[in-house]
Symmetry: C2
Subunit: 218 residues, 2 copies
Amino acid sequence: MAKCKVSYAPSVRRLPSYLLIAKQSLEHGDEYVSGTLIAAELNLEPIQVRKDLSITGIAGKPKRGYPVAPLIAAIESYLNWDKRVDAIVVGAGNLGSALSGFPGFRLHGLFIVAAFDVDTAKAGLTIHDTPVYPIEELADRVSKLGVTVAILTVPSANAQVVASTLASAGITAIWNFTNVKLKVPEDIVVQNEDLSSGYAMLSMKRRICLEPPEGDAD
Amino acid sequence: MAKCKVSYAPSVRRLPSYLLIAKQSLEHGDEYVSGTLIAAELNLEPIQVRKDLSITGIAGKPKRGYPVAPLIAAIESYLNWDKRVDAIVVGAGNLGSALSGFPGFRLHGLFIVAAFDVDTAKAGLTIHDTPVYPIEELADRVSKLGVTVAILTVPSANAQVVASTLASAGITAIWNFTNVKLKVPEDIVVQNEDLSSGYAMLSMKRRICLEPPEGDAD
DNA sequence: TAGATTGTTAATCGATTAACAATC
DNA sequence: TAGATTGTTAATCGATTAACAATC
């Protein structure tokens, strides 16, 4: 994978939640939303919200906060979420289906235009308005559709093989929901979505943050 | 939520991938696995792997590495993954189904013992060997089963209401797959699994790490 | 023995937080 | 005006990385 670091990664990860609140403010008819309010909503420090937002270039007004519409525009522009991006889902199991139908993606400009599965019985089906094709057609359809983003939700055992297929098919970005560390060419970016990491954090929070109740045997 | 910080959070998040490699080494019949090898496998620096592993208390042998079986035991013990933990899934849609059937969880001691859904048509069904019940039965069944962990995969609109129900039902840990910042009592821990954060990172990597090919219009 | 690897201590780097002037 | 909020600069904190002695 491309050796390349995203600057301000922690801030980037928090921007989507700021965006959500800004959109709620818009919905609510507010003209401004303050960093203080966003922070309160998210249990963060106001200074952190301001620092984070500063990377998008948005300018706030003392006493009022940030103008809602420009704030939304600034975050979406910074994340490139103001341009439509087409993607395919590879592995049309439950997780693939869930992601295909996830309503939030379209709001971020992400359109799932096709799904692929080894199970030929699934070919011809439609999941959440997305057509499912046999995986043999992947290369052809990817080049025809001009898609460059793939969401990988196949079983771990097949992850590397499929990733290599994706690479030769012209995919340049893989959102990897498997626990396999993919070996891909230098000119492809991979974002690993590691469920185990999240579960490790939950486990530690349980251990550390919860007073052990007497007779904790579960 | 409980105001409480997990120490060495970045290290904790990496431990599961070390565990996976250790298990593969075990499978492979190796007696030792070195930090150097683990690092190479994961594209990390060896020093980082050693630092991370040190928090589990495992002791390595110069020239050999870490003894595989004790390494696995040390990580699992540190994460509390060596004891069975029962959990429920709330929201038996595609994502809930996917998580219910995720094979990795059992390996980490996590057993999904019941699922709940507002859709009464789903009651009586079984998803991946997990029985589905109407959500009205949640409180009763949770107390009867003695479960304290819940995986929340309901639509955003219902997330807060359901979280409150979980809190009063005796759930003390919520793995939250919605994008709602839940307001729960002090004695409950929440782990947010934020898909948007991951997508923000993928978007930034695309922007920054990929040379913009001429005519990038997708 | 020679050399690879661990584990510790120190240095660097980056992220978070604090302080505070500017401003609407 | 008074006061809340922004935005900048500096200080703190924690994570990563470097250096290197210990050791098998």
